[in-house]
């Protein structure tokens, strides 16, 4: 097949093109022809097809995502908002923090190890591209049933991939989630989050400006991996004499990425870069069009100068390749030499592949012949936008009506039954210790990890002199969101917000990863619309703007979609990490207080799942003002040294929180059921806006005064003591028994 140049495209308007195989719709193809005034060349078609894919263009979700901007609360801390590689937040002392959570769901199902590994690689480069040193990662994960044979295939590979890549990069993995539910069978969710730190003046943006400035591609060579990873696998439509079908999943090399990080940070430190973009989904198509689109001029690229792993790659393939560990920088001519020197120091290949031009076109040449001539904005930012139809599912009412009342689901009544229920919940795969998984991740590297799994949030020190720190928690409960996506998204935010505050940090900003089924299903689209609306409304009330994130659609097999799963990450700041609050009950004699109100709220609860395999009713009531008050109390108590331990109450309720805090601290507790509360509801309700805290006796008066003055219900429920957990009048259970139930579960199923 001869080269399809721009000239050729003009002369052969009727040539048949593989637009459908590349995932484009007929009207989208027609629009490309309209934009260009001719048919696209093969290379142009490749670029539009990947950039207009759902993954890159957000064409189904855009109309709903707009709310995050429109309803964004006024927030002085926001330095860079939605639209860049990641949002940036001011955390004081001249520091800025950037963080983002992204999905790598589909690749991780096809090829668990590489899919999960490159998920880490991609999010780390996004953070790096903002000018920040990456300092920590986290992985919110969802799998099918823990005892399903395919979970045994998928989970160990994903965990090994996360560990294999993240450990080798030298980034501590400080938190995340592991959730099992049969709705994720065939559609595991592998989300990855990275946090990075920089000084304000180091913020970099993805834009190309200034005619004559050079475009430098550096990092790994470009290979044939990941072609069409964001759209479809369609290699057979290209040159038939070229390499055979290639996998759509990228293959990662964390060693190369580590070099890329250190090399890039050194380049930033010498202020050699005007604009920078990482190469992830859609590879060079994305990087060149986004850089050119966001800048002031055009761009000219000599595609044949791109270093290749496989010399037989065609221009189309080079533009679509998603080979990992590559970055693209815009550099002034006078600084190119030094840029290349630093790359050489780190053994990183760097090549000038083009330059910024006066024009307004992105022009790409292959051995002197022009193969791309497009307005970059039409590729990068003006993709199609769909108003997908959506409607409240017909089954939603019946689901919500099936409430887990005492009549509908038999509840434990006697002390023995309550004890059995507590052990069953604590030993269920979702509530059991995840140490078999998280012990495969390095949480110590860099030496700044202050809190890590199984704490409520992950916290890292960012300044060793001042002890300034940041913390992050990610949460999402697909069961709640299935019952009510609007509330479910708000509960995910509430929980992450509460987790950050429980550790002692002040919540500042949000990143979200919205995992849903097919947008072509009006039921799913309704869930998506409701979740976006709920999250945007809640962010507005809590004053925590969404700074960026990612949407993953089409998480479904056949007609069955996953539970709607908005995963919400909240970033917080703490002035002195020495003041952080851990979850463990470490000091005997301290009094335990339950903060917040407990109602009979078991819809979507861990107990209803474990005891009855039931999902119905309504999720716990959302009370954002209460969440804010609770957070303020937790932060003030931490700052003023009034609490020694705090654990948020969520899945499994107070029972689960007590189990975890006792085991972590190595102490038991004697607990009294408050008057007027049913013991079962006291232990297993999942009412939001609650936490359990341990108060040194010397601080009790002060703490009670504070809660009283602010109007936060604080009920003394017991004391840290001994080596048994006793619910007075109901049952006692030894720490050894709790440990037996809570640990070893995951390895027994999956190791």
């Amino acid at each position: 097949m001869s080269l399809d140049t721009v000239k050729n495209a003009e002369q052969t308007p009727d040539a048949v093109q593989p637009w459908a195989e590349l995932g484009l719709k007929a009207d989208e193809y027609a629009r490309i022809k309209e934009i260009l005034g001719r048919r696209p060349t093969g290379a142009e078609l490749a670029m539009y097809s990947v950039m207009w894919s759902e993954h890159c263009s957000y064409k189904s979700s855009k109309v709903h995502l707009k709310q995050f901007g429109e309803k964004a609360p006024a927030n002085d801390a926001m330095l860079v908002g939605i639209g860049e590689n990641a949002g940036v937040v001011d955390v004081g002392q001249g520091y800025a923090v950037t963080f983002k959570v992204e999905s790598h769901n589909h690749p991780s199902y096809i090829e668990p190890y590489q899919g999960a590994a490159t998920g880490i690689g991609g999010i780390v480069r996004d953070i790096l591209a903002m000018g920040a040193r990456p300092v920590a990662v986290m992985d919110p994960l969802r799998f099918g049933a823990a005892d399903h044979p395919d979970t045994r295939r998928v989970l160990p590979g994903i965990v090994a991939g996360i560990g294999g890549y993240g450990n080798c990069l030298g980034l501590p993995n400080i938190g995340g989630e592991v959730v099992f539910d049969s709705c994720y069978q065939g559609n595991p969710l592998v989300n990855a989050l990275c946090v990075g730190v920089m000084k304000h003046e180091d913020i970099h943006l993805a834009q190309a400006s200034g005619a004559g400035n050079k475009v430098i591609l550096y990092g790994a060579r470009t290979g044939g991996d990941g072609i069409g990873g964001v759209s479809v696998l369609a290699s057979e439509t290209f040159d038939a004499t070229g390499p055979a079908k290639r996998p759509a999943v990228q293959v990662g090399d964390p060693f190369q990425e580590k070099l890329l990080i250190e090399c890039t940070l050194e380049i930033f430190a010498e202020k050699l870069v005007l604009g920078i973009q990482d190469l992830g989904g859609a590879g060079l198509s994305c990087a060149t069009s986004e850089l050119a689109s966001a800048g002031s001029g055009g761009m000219r690229v000599e595609l044949d100068t791109v270093p290749l792993r496989d010399s037989s790659l065609s221009p189309e393939e080079i533009l679509m390749s998603e080979s990992q560990e590559r970055m693209c920088a815009i550099v002034e001519p006078g600084k190119v030499e030094r840029f290349l020197e630093i790359c050489e120091k780190w053994d990183v290949i760097a090549t000038v592949i083009g330059e910024v031009t006066d024009g307004e076109r992105l022009e790409i040449f292959w051995h002197g012949e022009q193969v791309v001539d497009v307005p970059p904005r039409t590729v990068a930012h003006d993709g199609p936008v769909y108003q997908r139809p959506y409607a409240r599912p017909s089954w939603q009412d019946a689901l919500q009506a099936d409430a887990p009342t005492a009549e509908r689901l038999q509840r434990p009544v006697t002390g023995e039954e309550l004890k059995a229920a507590l052990l069953a919940v604590a030993g269920s795969p979702n509530q059991a210790s995840k140490s078999w998984i998280t012990d495969q991740y390095d949480r110590y590297v860099i030496g700044n990890t202050v809190l890590a799994t199984p704490e409520d949030s992950g916290m890292v020190r960012i300044d060793e002199e001042t002890n300034l720190g940041v913390s992050v928690a990610t949460d999402g409960n697909g069961r709640y969101a299935k019952l009510d996506p609007y509330a479910g998204a708000q509960l995910a935010l509430s929980e992450a917000y509460r987790n950050v505050a429980a550790g002692g940090a002040k919540p500042l900003a949000v990143s979200d990863c919205l995992n849903f089924g097919s947008p072509e299903d009006p039921d799913v689209m309704w869930q998506f619309a409701e979740a976006c609306r709920g999250l945007a409304d809640a962010c507005q009330i809590l004053g925590t703007p969404v700074t960026g994130g990612n949407v993953s659609l089409y998480n479904q097999t056949g007609e069955t979609a996953i539970h709607p799963t908005p995963v919400v990450a909240v970033l917080g700041v703490i002035d002195d990490v020495n003041r952080r609050t851990p979850i463990g009950f470490a000091e005997e004699g301290q009094h335990l207080y339950l903060l917040g109100d407990t109602a009979d709220e078991l819809g979507g609860s861990a107990w209803s799942e474990v005891a009855h395999g039931h999902l119905g009713g309504l999720p716990p009531k959302v009370d954002l003002e209460r969440e804010r008050l609770l957070a303020e109390i937790l932060i003030a108590a931490s700052r003023d040294g009034m609490i020694d331990a705090a654990h948020d109450l969520s899945d499994g309720g107070l029972a689960q929180a007590l189990v975890e805090s006792c085991l972590k601290g190595g102490n038991g507790a004697r607990v009294i059921v408050p008057a007027g509360l049913d013991p079962f509801v006291f232990l297993f309700s999942e009412s939001a806006g609650r936490a359990v805290v341990a108060i040194p006796r010397s601080e009790e008066l002060r703490f009670n005064d504070m809660c009283g003055a602010r109007g936060l219900p604080a009920t003394r429920i017991g004391v840290v003591d001994g080596d048994v957990l006793e619910i007075q009048g109901e049952f006692t259970v030894s720490l050894a028994e709790l440990k037996d139930a809570h640990t070893g579960v995951i390895e027994a199923l999956l190791a």
């Binding site: 060693f255 991740y441 110590y444 030496g447 202050v450 020190r461």
Partner: protein, 225 residues
Amino acid sequence: MTTRVGVVTFPGSLDDRDAQRAVRLAGAEPVALWHRDKDLHQVDAVVLPGGFSYGDYLRCGAISRFSPVMDTIIEQAKLGMPVLGICNGFQVLCESHLLPGALTRNDSLHFICRDQKLRIENASTAWTGDYTQGQEIVVPLKNGEGRFVADEHVLDALEAEGRIVARYLDVNPNGSYRDIAGISNAAGNVVGLMPHPEHAIEPLTGPTTEGLGFFTSVLKQLVSA
């Protein structure tokens, strides 16, 4: 004069800044050494930090062993300069034949990160003088290929000569022969250790501060030498 302790950065080193922090907290001056530079910049001792130097390609430590800085370190180590290899650094020391044996894939086949109890078996090496014989400490351990293996006669010789520096207690996390966590050369100036003492130097970020002793030990050794 402040004692200068070099910390080598290979491409892929990860715990180099952590090791520098440990050196600083112990009271010495950390000096960054670059793998391509043969010059040790007048350091009195050297730490080879943890990580995945050269991506662990070929075999852990196999490529680093041939980097220019190692030529000088091997030469100086043979003349008595204290060298501590942690994790990947231990692997480099074995590949350099400054220490016997090899580190292979954990018997669980998984990377493992845990707070590990150790017993100091030899408190008279350059790096363990601040501990007492038989002292039990807890420091983080994190490795994928930390299983120490050697011939029976090598193991017997290590035992007989008191060259087993630390052993795993309670749990052998990686299947190391005879629970070996660290060994030394015959002179006691070169020590390889699989666990990470540099991650147990501050109460805030480590499970204990019991790792600091490795770094303070070498200072005393150098001052008294």
